[in-house]
């Protein structure tokens, strides 16, 4: 599904990703952890196609296509979805209108007819129920005045609507209360079908209790410095990052 080879990226001359290697196969859940400033959001932004970052090396292929060549909208329409760490507020654009546009643009791209208005509304209502989204939220402008948790929930609601092949969640669990965390996890688990894949960036083990990862990676200074199974996350929770940092320093000195 997703194959990242030696990916390097920088911003304003500052090197942030220093050779990322990662393979995500269909149906897999990967967790990425790592200290603040390691480059986790940068990786997700580069994958989604944010123009601020300059890719200075490496390759990314998504279902056999060169992802880095594609515009952000084409990546999305090919099935990549990024749940933002900080979703933006867009006054004046209603959530409904936004989602209808997004879904129909995707359908157009795939050569499908636009969704009928009634079918769309029915579909949206289903997903709203799934995410326990209040009607008042979707009738408002996109994310405008939403609480931190509501914004995160709205990201997962959008994911549920767009049914992506690959979802990258950037700290979607941060700022969620326990109930919202369960809802977000349910949203993800509902979408799991053995084909769809997830890259979950998080600082906390608790999300991974609900969304059990097949692999856990530690990103540090723009590199994946350690990978393991779900138990690695538990170890990190208990021990912190110092031992990994020490390992990295040791290797560098050796």
């Amino acid at each position: 599904m997703l194959e990242i080879k030696d990916l390097k990226a920088e911003i304003e001359g500052k090197k942030i990703l220093n050779g990322i290697n990662l393979v995500v196969k269909p149906g897999e859940v990967h967790a990425i952890m790592g200290p603040n400033g390691a480059g986790k959001s940068t990786l997700s932004a580069v994958l989604a196609g944010r123009a601020d970052y300059a890719v200075t090396g490496g390759e990314v292929s998504f279902n056999g296509k060169d992802l880095l060549e594609m515009s952000p909208e084409d990546r999305a329409r090919e099935g990549v979805f990024l749940a933002f760490q900080y979703p933006v507020e867009i006054p004046g654009v209603s959530t409904t209108n936004f989602l209808k546009t997004a879904i129909n643009e995707k359908r157009k791209y795939l050569g499908l007819e636009p969704m009928e208005a009634t079918a769309f509304l029915k579909f949206m209502r289903e997903k709203m129920e799934l995410m326990e989204m209040d009607k008042a939220l979707t009738s408002r402008s996109l994310n405008e005045g939403f609480s931190g948790g509501e914004k995160k929930r709205n990201e997962v609601f959008q994911m549920a609507m767009l049914e992506p092949k690959l979802t990258i969640m950037d700290e979607t669990d941060s700022g969620l209360d326990i109930d919202a965390l369960r809802l977000v996890s349910a949203g993800v688990n509902k979408l799991k079908d053995g084909e769809r894949s997830f890259v979950v960036i998080t600082h906390y083990q608790r999300l991974l209790d609900y969304i059990v990862p097949d692999f856990v990676h530690v990103l540090y200074k723009g590199r994946i410095v350690k990978s393991g199974d779900a138990s690695l996350a538990k170890e990190l929770e208990a021990k912190g990052y110092d031992w990994i940092k020490a390992e990295v320093e040791q290797e560098a000195n050796a």
Binding site: G49, E73, A76, V88, I90, G92, V93, F98, T101, E105
Partner: protein, 428 residues
């Protein structure tokens, strides 16, 4: 040269005018105009707006009315409203298209010319009392050579149920035309009125509209005033709107400038009593080499008044926008709250914005804020929309529409807003 035509016009007018107060007023105005001449870019207030393309040209006043005007009217979005209509072509009233549906006979909706005969007392009490002529060349010119215009009188405690649409058409199909509409709106104590002032043009020649609107709002009156400018073609307009507010009045004003080669709007509010609310909203969408200049002035002359001003622009092509927002807080206008924002989105490297807030505060206990921005569409928002599969051009349009509709929605006639939104959408 326009000046020569104007002088001839005035001599001609004087020759057939009845002597009296009105003539004296207009003679004085003409003398003031002759003294001042047309404003040039040497005047601070006209620094960015050059009238040379108007003053070097010739324009003629004409009262001939063609049938194609009916089509234009019927095709307009305003004509779909359930409203009172006063339709003017090149400044003259068109009776066939004008229609008053208001039932209450004490409410007067007529042409200015008619009102001067039928409502003499009110006319004399208010006409020329608010829009200053001294030092204002264009007002002086309008006063001296006004064509006709709307007269609305709402007596004490009345609500005008349906909006009054002042529908202006410049018909330049045969020659360059000059129209100088003059509107007088008197809303007495505790009365409510909605005005839609709208401008269209037809014909391949040029047109110049120099309009003055005076509105008097008596104590506790509420006035909704919407100005919609969409004169396509070689159209020049200088628009002066003066509100005079007594205590406890509410005025909500929206200017939408969607077309026009050169549009200069002068919007003035004078708060003559306490607890006034003045809302000033504007949207301009400019293209080609067009210039839209909004000069606003709010006079907080009494304490405890509130004004909120927000003007937004979208600029394309080689167009220019000028915004100058003056807020005068007079010496005894304590507890004034005044807010002002001007935002501009440039969609072209060749477009220019000149924006300037001008706060003159003589009282000490006031809250005033202002801010101006000139920029492009928000990158973060663009990326967010695109990351959901919305192509760049569609995303841009979504954001621009949202930005513009924010102002259009200040108009409290939903049918009109909806139609205007479609119109704005088409411009983007």
């Amino acid at each position: 040269m326009l000046l020569e035509t104007i002088k001839k016009d005035f001599i001609q007018y004087k020759a057939q005018a009845e002597p009296g107060e009105f003539l004296t007023l207009r003679e004085a105005a003409f003398a003031e105009f002759e003294k001042l001449g047309f404003p040039t870019t040497k005047h601070e207030e006209w620094k960015y707006t050059n009238l040379k393309s108007i003053t070097d040209n010739t324009f003629q006043s004409t009262c001939e009315i063609k049938s194609l005007v009916n089509e234009l009217f019927n095709a307009s979005i305003e004509s779909k409203l359930t409203a009172n209509f006063l339709v003017f072509v090149n400044g003259s009233l068109v009776n066939e298209l004008s229609k008053i549906i208001e039932k209450d006979n004490s409410i007067v909706i007529s042409s200015l010319a008619t009102s001067r005969k039928n409502n003499q007392a009110i006319f004399n009490q208010h006409f020329g009392k608010y829009a200053k002529v001294e030092g204002q060349a264009m007002n002086a010119l309008n006063t001296a050579l006004l064509s006709d215009g709307a007269f609305v009188f709402v007596p004490k405690g009345k609500t005008v149920v349906h909006p009054v649409v002042i529908f202006n058409i410049s018909d330049a199909s045969d020659l360059n035309v000059l129209a100088q509409p003059r509107n007088l709106i008197v809303v007495e104590e505790q009365s409510t009125l909605t005005i839609v002032e709208t401008y269209y043009a037809t014909g391949t020649n040029a047109s110049f509209t120099n309009v003055v609107t005076e509105t008097y709002a008596g104590k506790s009156a509420h006035v909704e005033h919407y100005k919609i400018q969409q004169q396509a073609g070689a159209c020049y307009q200088n628009n002066f709107t003066q509100f005079f507010q007594e205590a406890d009045t509410n005025i909500n004003h929206v200017t939408l400038t969607l077309d026009g080669t050169l549009v200069r709007n002068n919007l003035h509010f004078y708060m003559n009593g306490e607890n006034c609310n003045s809302l000033l909203y504007g949207l301009y969408v400019t293209d080609n080499k067009d210039l839209v200049d909004n000069h606003t002035r709010v006079d907080h002359a009494k304490p405890n008044c509130f004004s909120d001003e927000k003007y937004k622009g979208i600029l394309k092509g080689h167009s220019t926008a000028v915004f100058n927002g003056k807020i005068m807080v007079h010496l005894d206008a304590q507890k004034t709250n005044a807010y002002q924002r001007n935002q501009n989105i440039l969609l072209s490297d060749d477009a220019t914005v000149n924006t300037k807030p001008q706060l003159e505060i003589f009282a000490d206990d006031v809250k005033c804020t202002h801010g101006a921005t000139v920029g492009e569409l928000d990158e973060e928002s663009m990326f967010y929309l695109r990351s959901r599969g919305i192509p760049e051009d569609v995303a841009r349009k979504l954001l621009l529409t949202a930005y513009a509709v924010d102002i259009a929605e200040k108009i409290k006639i939903p049918e009109l807003v909806e139609l205007l939104e479609q119109k704005i959408d088409g411009k983007l």
